[in-house]
């Protein structure tokens, strides 16, 4: 454990009907908070009334196996556990994803150019520079929420969502970047494409990546 975080008095706990609870950590959405969320998930998923603990972006959803009769006790237990939460350093592996940027594979790169005022080469350079950390999985099978995008290429979500974004689409939505794992709707700006398969229901675990893993995008080609 490194630098013990100070207990913060103001996390938020809210009900998701009788199905579960949502715990939202206060403060920044950064890797330090996220590591404490991972730690909290490991603890909470062993509780008898919990069926699954699902990390989000600096938050944790708890699904009840049986809804507890007494909410107060589970809430105070949750807060107490959070207050002693350590940073869980997951041994992640690094996956390099070759990306074809622009052209028919990145139909919205022009919008990122317009929004940021940067040239395509510069956008690709900034996008391929960081080692992105998988913070959580969600949205659709195998999809990873990544932390670490350079805010210089942040581009607001599209007003009208794309209905059929293909799997492998590399996109930017606000200050986040990600890769679609299968065909579906999306409001993000597609800047490129990678051929990686992120999910196989017959594999165990079914998702290619897990929280703590890292992604590096490599520019295989830039189409202008």
């Amino acid at each position: 454990m490194t630098n013990t975080p100070q207990p913060d008095p103001s996390p938020r706990i809210s009900l998701l009907g009788t199905t579960g609870l949502l715990f939202e950590a206060p403060g920044e959405m950064d890797i330090h908070t996220q590591r404490r969320i991972w730690w909290l998930a490991r603890q909470v998923e062993t509780w008898p009334c919990i069926k699954e603990a699902v990390p989000g972006m600096s938050n944790l959803m708890l699904i009840f196996s049986t809804p507890p009769r007494n909410l107060d006790s589970i809430e105070s237990e949750l807060l107490a556990t959070w207050n002693r939460a350590e940073e869980l350093h997951l041994e992640g592996r690094v996956v390099e994803l070759p990306v074809i940027y622009g052209g028919e594979y990145g139909p919205h790169i022009a919008d990122v150019v317009a929004h940021t005022g940067l040239m395509i080469e510069e956008i690709v350079r900034i996008h391929t520079e960081p080692l992105y950390i998988v913070f959580a999985l969600g949205s659709h099978p195998g999809y990873c929420y990544l932390g670490g995008m350079d805010p210089r290429i942040a581009t607001s979500r599209r007003k009208v969502p794309v209905l059929r974004l293909p799997g492998g689409a590399v996109s930017i939505g606000g200050s986040q970047t990600g890769v679609s794992a299968s065909l579906g709707p999306s409001g993000w700006n597609t800047i490129g494409h990678t051929a990686m398969s992120f999910f196989d229901p017959l594999r165990s675990p079914p998702a290619l990546l897990a929280p703590g893993d890292m992604i590096r995008f490599r520019a295989e080609r830039i189409i202008k």
Binding site: L15, T19, E52, P55, I63, P67, S139, P141, A181, P201
Partner: protein, 335 residues
């Protein structure tokens, strides 16, 4: 074994849903009306969680390729076996070659066809439910088509059960006539569906007038509503300030409010995570009522408490246990 003779493109194989894979981004899927699915299974002596066919649009027609008992629950589809009418919430035995036809419903939206033994499709990640976004589970990961042949899980017990089922079959009282919903006596029900709602994280962030409309006004279920979610139309809900949510887990029943102010109720095929603010959650015990609310009809939200929501879940369990006892008695009396 049955062969699909006619279906719309939205019929699918579902059980009670897929648990434990949210952390991989896999939503729960499963029957929209879990109460109807479980009841159909109980009538047949199947485990509650056996897979059945969810039929949201009609007509729907199958041919039985063997002698087998089946059950129809959920929407009141006008059903006929070789032209002979079948009451709703009923189990009956079919003889090889007979054709079951479900015509458009008189009330309700989704019908469930269960077979003795349950539908035999592979269990993928712990469930037989169709995961449409992931193209897996159910029947080859897709909705049903004309010509598809589905098998039932065979076991010695089911042949015995078949013999014991009277030719006329038997049924149960549909839950809508049995399950209470709190203090509804004073409110004219008409064609509205009432569902109970627990406030969620961003409930307090809405203008007072918006909260008044949320509870007090009708919400139309627009035609853009399906297993993913119901898109509602009514007086736009206005937040006191702009709300920004970080991506977080959501569950079926969560009522999200996108920037348009027109709420969306996330349902069985919804993404397991999202970022829109949440004003409330339709309680688990009332999700079957939503599943049976027809397109273009109106919804009303009733404010409830966690304790009431738990009692409502108990009432659902009581109903299922009553059906279980009745089905057992019926089988015993046939010996």
């Amino acid at each position: 074994m049955i062969e699909i003779l006619s279906t719309t493109p939205l019929s699918s194989v579902q059980d009670l849903g897929r648990d434990g894979y949210l952390r991989y981004g896999v939503g729960t899927s499963g029957a929209m009306d879990r109460l109807a699915l479980a009841t159909g299974n109980i009538l047949l002596g199947n485990p509650d969680n056996s897979a059945a066919i969810e039929i949201p649009f009609f007509p729907f027609e199958v041919r039985f390729l063997e002698d087998i008992a089946f059950a129809l629950t959920g929407a009141d589809a006008v059903a006929e076996l070789d032209g002979r009418p079948i009451p709703p919430w009923w189990t009956l035995r079919a003889v090889k070659g007979q054709v079951l036809r479900l015509n458009p419903t008189e009330r309700g939206a989704r019908c469930y066809l269960a077979l003795a033994g349950g539908i035999n499709v592979p269990v993928v990640l712990g469930s037989r439910s169709t995961q449409l976004r992931g193209d897996f589970g159910g029947y080859h990961g897709r909705t049903l088509q004309q010509g598809d042949v589905l098998k039932a899980i065979r076991s010695a017990g089911h042949c015995e059960g078949f013999d014991r089922l009277p030719a006329a079959g038997f049924g149960v009282e549909p839950p809508e006539f049995v399950l209470p919903q709190g203090n509804l006596e004073s409110i004219a029900q008409g064609t509205r569906t009432f569902v109970r709602v627990l406030p969620a994280a961003e409930y307090d962030c809405y203008e007072d007038a918006s909260l008044e409309s949320f509870w007090g006004k009708d919400w139309k279920i627009t035609p853009q509503s399906d297993r993913y979610g119901y898109r509602l139309e009514g007086e736009a809900l206005v937040p006191k300030r702009t709300l920004e949510q970080r991506s977080h887990g959501i569950v079926p029943g969560v009522i999200q409010v996108p920037p348009s102010g027109q709420p969306i109720i996330q349902l069985r095929d919804a993404q397991p995570s999202g970022g829109y603010p949440k004003i409330g959650t339709v309680i688990e015990a009332d999700l079957w009522r939503l599943a049976q609310a027809e397109l273009c009809t109106r919804l009303r939200f009733l404010k409830t408490t966690y304790e009431e929501a738990l009692s409502a879940l108990d009432a659902v369990d009581d109903y299922l246990n009553k059906v279980r006892r009745l089905a057992e008695l019926y089988r015993l009396s046939m010996r």
